[in-house]
Each structure stands twice: as structure tokens, then as C-alpha cells.
């Protein structure tokens, strides 16, 4: 046997009476996200906080603020639909709600990521990688190993990377770049810093020492960040498209339902 309160909830009457003070079709609170995004875009440039996200980042934040405002400006007419369980309106209502939530998540996540990719964080990344490499135990890394023995009198033939900040050692990457014409090295000669001997494996070229911090810095600023900005813009474009879809669903769905007097009263 059902509980008395469950029976009363299943009836239409109480629901209708409860509706006028319960439903808000334009909740002001949800405007917080675009407003905060817009403020964040302005603050990164106006306040000297050393929080530079670049002009692309600022434009993207403004874009997300505008698109987010558009999303919140769409009247939430679907909340007024008094849909029967299992009906098409319920499915549509759920779809609209799900899409609103998903787009809202994107509206928060991507701007936060943009703010996180500021100059301060990006400049800390190469140093972190360097520290990690410094702590790394090369023997247990299971990479390749080359035994090197440099005699004191030949040091002038080896390209050494000298850290600017007076540290004694700095991790570096080695890159072998083959040359088109084989180089001939005379024992004790001065041709080509770090040059490998021809005949060994059939290749000749230069062995370059690349500063890890610079490699990571270049990689982040030259490849990762442009790619991130592209995907953030794509997220912005797709969010805009889906907000347009939500608009169509709200307005058109409401118009289709308007012929049936089954709506709750707005607050």
C-alpha cells in the first residue's frame, strides 16, 4: 500500500499549486559564470598581476563570456512544460537540460584551462621538467647508453653547454643530425663539434646538445599552446552551435506545445 504523501504527490492539483513560486525561467545566478569569465579576461590585462594569457587567451575568454551570456539569455521555457512521463516532451526536456549542463561545463572548464595556461605556469613548466630530469635515475630509465671518455687535452673539441645561472650541471637532450656529405675526422682534428666518425653505422653528422628547458619552452609555446588555442576556439564554435540548437529546441518545442494547454505558470 502506498504512503498517503506519495499519493498526494502523484496528483495534479498540488503540483499546480506549488508551481508559481517554484519555477524561475531566467535564474540570475547562472549569469555568474559569464560575468566572472568576462572579468577574468579584463583583469588579466588590466591588473598588474603577472598573469599574462596573451591576446588570444583574452579573446577566447571574451568569446566564452559572450557565448555563455547567450546561453543564459535563452528563456528556459522547457521547465514550464508539464510533460507526461514517457512522453516526447519529457525526452526533449531531458535533452535540453543535458545539453545545457554539458555546455555549461565546457563554459567553465575551457576558460579555467585558458587561465591556467598563463605565462607564470608556462615558464615554470620547463624548470619542472628540468628538475624531474635531474632527479631521474638514468640507469633505471631503460634508455640507450653511450660510454664517453673525454681526455683533458681534447676538451676544446667538445661542445659543452654552460649554464647561465652558474649551476654546475644541467640536463640536456642529445640530437644527432646526419649531414648529407660524410665528414672526415682526423684523430685529434678540429672539424665539427661533436661530429661522429664516418663508417660507424654508415652515417655521419653532428651530435647536438639541446638545453632541456629551452626544448620544453619551445615545445609548449610553439606547438602545445597554438594547438590548445585552436581546440579552445573549436570548443567555443561548437558551444555556440549547440547554444543555437538549445535556442531552437526551447522556442520551437514550446511553440509546438503551445497548442496544448499543458504549461505551468511562470513565476
Amino acid at each position: 500500500m502506498r504512503k498517503p504523501e506519495a499519493v498526494s504527490r502523484s496528483r495534479t492539483g498540488p503540483r499546480l499549486r506549488a508551481a508559481p513560486h517554484a519555477i524561475d525561467t531566467k535564474p540570475k545566478l547562472l549569469f555568474v559564470t559569464p560575468i566572472v569569465t568576462f572579468l577574468a579576461a579584463g583583469l588579466t590585462k588590466l591588473v598588474p598581476l603577472d598573469w599574462d594569457i596573451g591576446w588570444k587567451g583574452v579573446f577566447l575568454l571574451v568569446g566564452f563570456a559572450v557565448v555563455g551570456t547567450c546561453l543564459q539569455c535563452i528563456p528556459r521555457r522547457s521547465v514550464l512544460w508539464r510533460a507526461e512521463p514517457g512522453s516526447a516532451q519529457v525526452a526533449l526536456k531531458q535533452t535540453i537540460t543535458t545539453m545545457r549542463v554539458l555546455v555549461s561545463i565546457v563554459m567553465v572548464l575551457v576558460p579555467v584551462t585558458i587561465l591556467a595556461t598563463n605565462d607564470k605556469v608556462l615558464s615554470a613548466l620547463p624548470r619542472s621538467v628540468e628538475e624531474y630530469l635531474g632527479r631521474l635515475n638514468a640507469e633505471t630509465f631503460a634508455g640507450g647508453v653511450v660510454s664517453v671518455a673525454v681526455e683533458t687535452e681534447r676538451k676544446r673539441n667538445i661542445l659543452l653547454f654552460v649554464p647561465v645561472d652558474k649551476r654546475h650541471e644541467e640536463p640536456a637532450l642529445l640530437k644527432f643530425q646526419p649531414t648529407t656529405a660524410p665528414q672526415i675526422l682526423v684523430s685529434g682534428g678540429t672539424e665539427g663539434a661533436g661530429g661522429s666518425r664516418p663508417g660507424i653505422g654508415g652515417v655521419a653528422g653532428e651530435l647536438y646538445i639541446l638545453q632541456t628547458t629551452k626544448v620544453v619552452d619551445n615545445l609548449v609555446k610553439g606547438a602545445v599552446m597554438p594547438a590548445f588555442h585552436q581546440f579552445a576556439t573549436l570548443a567555443l564554435v561548437l558551444s555556440g552551435i549547440f547554444i543555437f540548437v538549445i535556442f531552437i529546441m526551447e522556442i520551437l518545442g514550446d511553440l509546438l506545445l503551445s497548442m496544448q494547454p499543458k504549461r505551468l505558470k511562470p513565476s
Binding site: A91, T233, L238, I241, L256
Partner: protein
């Protein structure tokens, strides 16, 4: 990176379209509207929404991916100023469409059918039917022509889409193209059959603005790309220089040898004049709109086509800018060849501009996917309405959704389209020639419509006289000969000549009665 961006955009657009279809609710029992639904619909479209739906539907349905979007961007450098003809003729065609539609709708038997609320009466074939055996035979021929035309348009759409996307995303191989075609055709056909058959008009409400936004972004992006590219002068000088170069490009069309630019342009203009004058009138979506929106279809026809003309002009401008982009020094030699077809021009142009602005590919695919869907869904709905029309009963038979089997039909159709694509690419048939030959095939309906407008008995022979020479010219137009462009343009002349005959034709019994 760029392939991923493009793939995500296409998938995102397909997903968005799916949600728009969802607005119209779950599948009903039948893909046709009941009389009660029509009554509700009439209430719904009485206001501004009806006007929006009408304008968007007219614009989005005729702005297709293959025959408009890719065609204009890819062919502006070939035709120069002649490319403006389709814009002028499509706008002028609005008046012709209105003239013929109003006469046909004023015929008592047609007006009665359209007012009945029965969707079957909005099928193109009913215009030809007048109860006689001759009219049934004519309607049978019209049905074959209309279905062939719809299939041709669908195939062109999917082929162009697969061609451009596979070349940009993966490789130029025929097999990748066929695989892409199968994927996109299956997705569009399945989604439309499964969810959107009754909701294609609502989808146009989404696709219309999306196409406009995509095209405007592409235009501005290309301008910025060209203004920002290295030059001797400042930015102000650059804009003036760019304007001068657009004029130079338009003044000097680059028709592929051996055709002279003048001959090629004149033939193109003649073809456009015939095709665009009747393009809207002979399509099934037009007659559905007449049934659904009533007078709005004729009163808003010219407005809608004016919007269409403006957007097509923007595409022409992009085409002119594309030819400037491809004339730069650092462009690969393969992209500078004189005999590039429109698809290759579009691919080369996008490859160049996306080096500096990868997001222009997003704008291109947003508008492109919108154009593909908006045309395809309307054509698919038209296909089933015409194919399932019972000529004896005069109504759509077997309109139940349970008989549609979306996955099965979509898989079969996509496989056939992919096979045809592989064959055409293998035979190296020119894509632009295919557009010239296949798109106007619907004009073979015009003689029957003229007889219906005049209110005289249908003559199936007139249709055969139109179709047979059209088919011969079309076949000759696809061969690799010097005269092929002439034949391709001569093909639409055949139905137009027969239509002119139909205008003055007098059936025997009329002469007998007069005597």
C-alpha cells in the same frame, strides 16, 4: 592537428543536427502529416515563425554543397564575371516560380486538393494527374525523372563532400574517397530516415543561419589572410591592391583549354538561364512548402531568393579571393594547373589558408555540413513521397515508418553511392561536367507542368521527346571531347525547347471541338 579539427567540426555538426531533429519529437507512425496535424501546423506557421521557416527552407534547400558551395568557390576563376549569372537568374527565377505556382494553384482541382489537408495532394505528381490514362502515363514518366534527379543531386552532394573531406583529412586515393562517402552518406541517410524525415523544415531553421555564419567567417578570414600576407605596401594599400586583383581575376577567366573563356562563359550563362528559372518550381520541396505554408511560399519567394543571391555573391567573392590565394609564388605547382576542377581548387585553397589560420577549415565545414544536410534531408523526404505515391489512387501509399528500415536503406544507398563514386573517379569523369549534366535533368518535368498550367490534356510523347535528346546530349557532354561542354549545355536546352512547344501545343480533340 588540422584533420582532427576538421573531423571534430563535421561530427559536431552532425550531432547538432541530430538534436534539432529531436525537437520534433520521436518517430510517429507515418512520415506524412495527418489532417489534424496539418490543422495544428496551419496555426503554428500563421505568424512570424512561418515566415522564418519559409525563407530558411527556400534558401537552405537550394544552397547545396556540391552545386553551390563548392561550385562557386571552385569555379569563379574559370568563369570570371560569367559566374554572376546564376545569382541573377536564381533571383529572376523567383518571379517565374511565383507566376507558374499562382496559375497552378488557382486551378480549381489543384486548389481543392491543396486545401484538403491531405499531404498526398502536395506531391509533384498530382499536378500532372487529371484522371485520364494519358496523365497517369505522364505522371509515371515524371516520377522516374524526379527520382533520377533526386538521386543525382544526393549523389553529387555526397561525392563532393567525400572528395573534399578525404583529400583534406587523409589522402587523395579513390578508396579513401569511397570510404568517406559511405560514412557520410550512411550517417546523413540514417539520421534523416530515423529521426528527421518529418522535421527537415525545422532543421532548415538551424542550417540556414549556420550556412550564412560559416560563409561570412570564411570570407572575412580569407580577406584577413590576404591582407596579412607579405606585400610591399601598407595595409591600406593592400586592401586597394586586393580589390584591384579581384577585378583582374574576374576580368580574366581561366577556362581550361581548348575552350575559349568567352564560349565557355556564354554556354554557362545559357545553361544557368534555363536551369535557375525553373529550379525551384520543378522541385518537390517547393510543392510541400506550398501545401504547408500556403501563400507565404509565393509572397516570400523573391525575398528568400534575394537572401540566397546575396549569400551566393559572398561565395563568388570567396572564389575570387581563392584564385588570388592560389596565384601566390609559394603555392605548389599542382595547385596552379590550368585544368583543376572545382573540388581541387577548393582543396588547394583550404590547404593554403589553413596554414596560417587553421580555424578557417572549421568555418568551411560548419557551412559545408549545413549545406549538405539541408539539401539532403529535403531530397530524401521528397524521394520517399514521390516513390511511394500511388498513381491510380492519387495518394502516398505505405507511408508507415515501420516499412522504412532506416539502417537497411541507408546502408544499401550509401554502398551504391560509394560504388558510383569509385567508378566515376576511376573513369576520370570531370566533376563540374557532372553538375552541368545531372542537375538540370529535372527540367524534363517542365513540359508536363506547362500543359498542367494551360489546363490541357497531358501528352506523354512530349516528355519522351524531351528526355531522349537530353540523355544523348548528357552522355556526349560527359565524354572527353572538345565538344563536350557544348553538349553538356545543350542538354537542358532540349526540355526547354519542348516546353516552348508545349506552350503553343493544341491537343487534337480541342481542334476537333473547334471545328
Amino acid at each position: 592537428m588540422l584533420p582532427l579539427l576538421q573531423s571534430l567540426t563535421i561530427v559536431g555538426m552532425i550531432g547538432a543536427t541530430y538534436f534539432v531533429y529531436q525537437t520534433f519529437g520521436p518517430r510517429q507512425l507515418s512520415f506524412t502529416f495527418t489532417k489534424r496535424e496539418k490543422k495544428e501546423w496551419d496555426q503554428l506557421v500563421r505568424g512570424r515563425l512561418g515566415s522564418w521557416l519559409t525563407v530558411n527552407s527556400i534558401f537552405a534547400t537550394i544552397t547545396s554543397f556540391a552545386t553551390v558551395y563548392v561550385f562557386f568557390i571552385g569555379n569563379t576563376q574559370q568563369f570570371g564575371w560569367w559566374i554572376v549569372f546564376p545569382v541573377l537568374t536564381i533571383w529572376g527565377g523567383g518571379f517565374i516560380t511565383n507566376y507558374f505556382t499562382r496559375i497552378l494553384v488557382s486551378r480549381r482541382h489543384i486548389a481543392k486538393r491543396l486545401a484538403s489537408g491531405d499531404q498526398s495532394k502536395a506531391v509533384l505528381l498530382t499536378l500532372v494527374l487529371d484522371g485520364t490514362n494519358a496523365s497517369i502515363r505522364s505522371a509515371a514518366i515524371v516520377r522516374v525523372v524526379a527520382l533520377t534527379n533526386i538521386l543525382a543531386i544526393l549523389w553529387l552532394e555526397f561525392s563532393a563532400f567525400a572528395d573534399v573531406s578525404s583529400k583534406l583529412i587523409i589522402s587523395e586515393s579513390i578508396w579513401w574517397g569511397a570510404i568517406f562517402l559511405y560514412g557520410c552518406a550512411f550517417a546523413v541517410l540514417y539520421f534523416t530516415l530515423r529521426f528527421g524525415l518529418r522535421g527537415f523544415l525545422f532543421a532548415d531553421l538551424f542550417h540556414g543561419p549556420i550556412i550564412v555564419i560559416g560563409i561570412v567567417t570564411l570570407l572575412i578570414g580569407t580577406l584577413v589572410f590576404l591582407v596579412g600576407s607579405p606585400s610591399d605596401g601598407g595595409h591600406e594599400d593592400r586592401l586597394v591592391e586586393l580589390f584591384g586583383r579581384i577585378l583582374t581575376e574576374m576580368n580574366a577567366p581561366k577556362a581550361p583549354a581548348p575552350t575559349s573563356p568567352l564560349l565557355s562563359g556564354v554556354l554557362f550563362a545559357i545553361s544557368c538561364l534555363f536551369l535557375n528559372s525553373f529550379l525551384v518550381l520543378i522541385t518537390q520541396p517547393h510543392w510541400f512548402r506550398v501545401w504547408m505554408f500556403g501563400e507565404k511560399e509565393t509572397t516570400l519567394q523573391v525575398t528568400s531568393l534575394s537572401v540566397t543571391a546575396v549569400v551566393w555573391s559572398a561565395l563568388i567573392l570567396i572564389g575570387a579571393l581563392a584564385s588570388i590565394v592560389l596565384s601566390a609564388k609559394d603555392v605548389p605547382a599542382a595547385c596552379k594547373a590550368a585544368n583543376l576542377d572545382s573540388v581541387q581548387v577548393v582543396v588547394c585553397y583550404l590547404q593554403q589558408v589553413t596554414i596560417a589560420y587553421p580555424l578557417l577549415a572549421v568555418a568551411f565545414w560548419v557551412a559545408g555540413t549545413g549545406a549538405l544536410f539541408s539539401t539532403a534531408d529535403a531530397q530524401i523526404y521528397s524521394f520517399f513521397s514521390i516513390q511511394r505515391f500511388d498513381l491510380r489512387e492519387g495518394k502516398i501509399a505505405h507511408a508507415e515508418f515501420k516499412e522504412l528500415r532506416p539502417a537497411f536503406y541507408a546502408a544499401i544507398a550509401a554502398a551504391l553511392f560509394a560504388g558510383c563514386y569509385a567508378l566515376v573517379r576511376f573513369l576520370k569523369v570531370d566533376f563540374d561536367q557532372l553538375v552541368f549534366v545531372l542537375l538540370p535533368s529535372g527540367l524534363n518535368i517542365v513540359p508536363a507542368l506547362i500543359l498542367a498550367v494551360r489546363g490541357i490534356r497531358q501528352e506523354p510523347v512530349l516528355l519522351w521527346i524531351s528526355i531522349v535528346p537530353y540523355a544523348v546530349c548528357a552522355f556526349l557532354g560527359l565524354l572527353h571531347t572538345d565538344a563536350a561542354p557544348v553538349f553538356a549545355v545543350a542538354a537542358p536546352l532540349m526540355p526547354l525547347t519542348v516546353s516552348a512547344v508545349a506552350l503553343v501545343y493544341r491537343p487534337k480533340e480541342v481542334a476537333h471541338a473547334k471545328a
